[in-house]
């Protein structure tokens, strides 16, 4: 019996997507947690994997830090059974976490071992999201092992974009297609000409944009409480991740840009009307 795919036409194994960025601190872990939760809200079975060995954080984002028994290294080294290491989210029956080890070093596992770990779970889940560590070294290579596609997270800042470009090049040399999330954009600054617009970033990097997330204080409060921001649908970032989840599932939803900055769209925004 094959009930694990609710959307017909898709293949039997879950899709492995690596979430990466090159530069640290642009929102990879927040993106992984939020997108995972948003996909789960759509009824997809999702496993989020923390591949940042030695610096685990995804457990904090999901409020699961005190439930960890085994981790990704234990599965890789066959110290435990795969099913023993994953932890169900408090908020959703569809969302699971495979935590990183906090004590090991990044190169304690290799790419083949990570591929083995992901294979253990692909049949059980529609989506496996792998949260990559910052950088382009072994940790990054491990996170990419077994990934079919990638989501590159950047902010509209020069250093983040430069690093994103480097990562897109590396992914492309591995045959992994990358799509872009522009995180923490401030449309007011874009209008003033003090921040690169969605269009600017797209022109520079030349890859498809799968989502744009506005700078939003709710992200910090959500992280404080260990609850992904998508559970707060008043939050603009929450709405953005919900739309990104829909796009990941193949829905055609245009990416908002507000780039034209026309007088009317500006007045609209001031009045709280979202185009």
């Amino acid at each position: 019996m094959n009930t694990r795919r609710d959307n017909a036409g898709k293949k039997d194994l879950g899709e492995v997507i690596v979430i990466t960025s090159g530069k640290g601190g642009v929102g990879k872990t927040t993106t992984t947690a939020s997108l995972g939760a948003a996909l789960a809200l759509r009824g997809q079975r999702v496993l989020v994997v923390d591949a940042d060995i030695g610096l685990r954080n995804l457990d904090m984002m999901l409020g699961l830090e005190n439930r960890i028994v085994f981790n990704v290294v234990d599965v890789a080294k066959k110290i435990c059974k795969p099913a023993q290491a994953i932890i169900k989210s408090k908020k959703s029956n569809n969302l699971y976490l495979l935590p990183a080890s906090q004590t090991d070093d990044k190169d304690v596992v290799d790419e083949a071992e990570i591929r083995y770990v992901l294979e253990q779970f692909r049949r059980e889940f529609h989506y496996v999201l792998v949260d990559s560590p910052a950088g382009i070294e072994q940790g990054f290579r491990n996170a990419c092992a077994g990934a079919e596609s990638a989501i590159v997270v950047t902010t509209p800042e020069v250093s983040a974009i430069r690093d994103a470009d480097r990562v897109v090049g590396l992914l492309s040399s591995k045959g992994i297609e990358a799509k872009l999330i522009i995180n923490r954009i401030d449309f007011e600054m874009v209008r003033r000409g003090d921040m690169l617009s969605v269009r600017d970033v797209q022109d520079i990097l030349g890859i498809e944009i799968i989502g744009v997330v506005e700078r939003d204080d709710q992200i910090i409060s959500a992280a404080n409480c260990g609850e992904p921001v998508v559970y707060n649908q008043k939050s603009k970032a929450g709405q953005a991740f919900t739309r990104i989840a829909a796009r990941v599932c193949g829905e055609q939803i245009p990416v908002p840009s507000f780039d034209t900055g026309s007088l009317w769209s500006r007045i609209g925004r001031k009045l709280g009307v979202n185009a």
């Binding site: 800042e157 020069v158 974009i161 430069r162 470009d165 480097r166 897109v168 090049g169 492309s172 297609e177 874009v190 209008r191 003033r192 000409g193 003090d194 921040m195 690169l196 617009s197 600017d200 520079i204 990097l205 030349g206 890859i207 498809e208 900055g261 007088l263 500006r266």
Partner: protein, 117 residues
């Protein structure tokens, strides 16, 4: 006009994003090609020379982009052409083109008009 009105209404800006764009443009060409500063300058100089063999161009507008699409990487060379050099012409014709080029260096508009003649 509308933009001017907007500026009046919402204040002037210094558009720091334009600086960001040109800095990124510069650094990404280096990152993507793996060429050093000097190599890039040399490549640019030689490209200009080659194109100038056949066209009179606006060197100011000459621009090299290393553009990456989903599965291919393209070198985009943008070179505004002012006039096509006559290839089969006599030596006197060649001299005229040189004249045009000389004018071009001092005054772009004059050169453009001259090319129409």
């Amino acid at each position: 006009m509308f933009n001017a009105l907007k500026k009046k209404l919402f204040g002037e800006s210094n558009e720091s994003k334009e600086t960001a764009k040109s800095r990124l443009h510069f650094v990404l060409v280096q990152d993507r090609t793996g060429l050093t500063n000097e190599e890039m300058a040399g490549f640019r100089e030689e490209m200009v020379k080659v194109i100038e063999k056949y066209f009179v161009i606006d060197k100011e507008g000459f621009d090299i982009k290393y553009h990456r699409l989903a599965d291919t990487t393209t070198l985009l060379i943008n070179s505004p052409v002012i006039v096509r050099r006559s290839t089969s012409g006599s030596s006197s014709k060649g001299a005229r083109v040189t004249e045009t080029e000389a004018e071009n260096e001092t005054d772009n508009e004059t050169a453009a008009v001259a090319s129409n003649v």
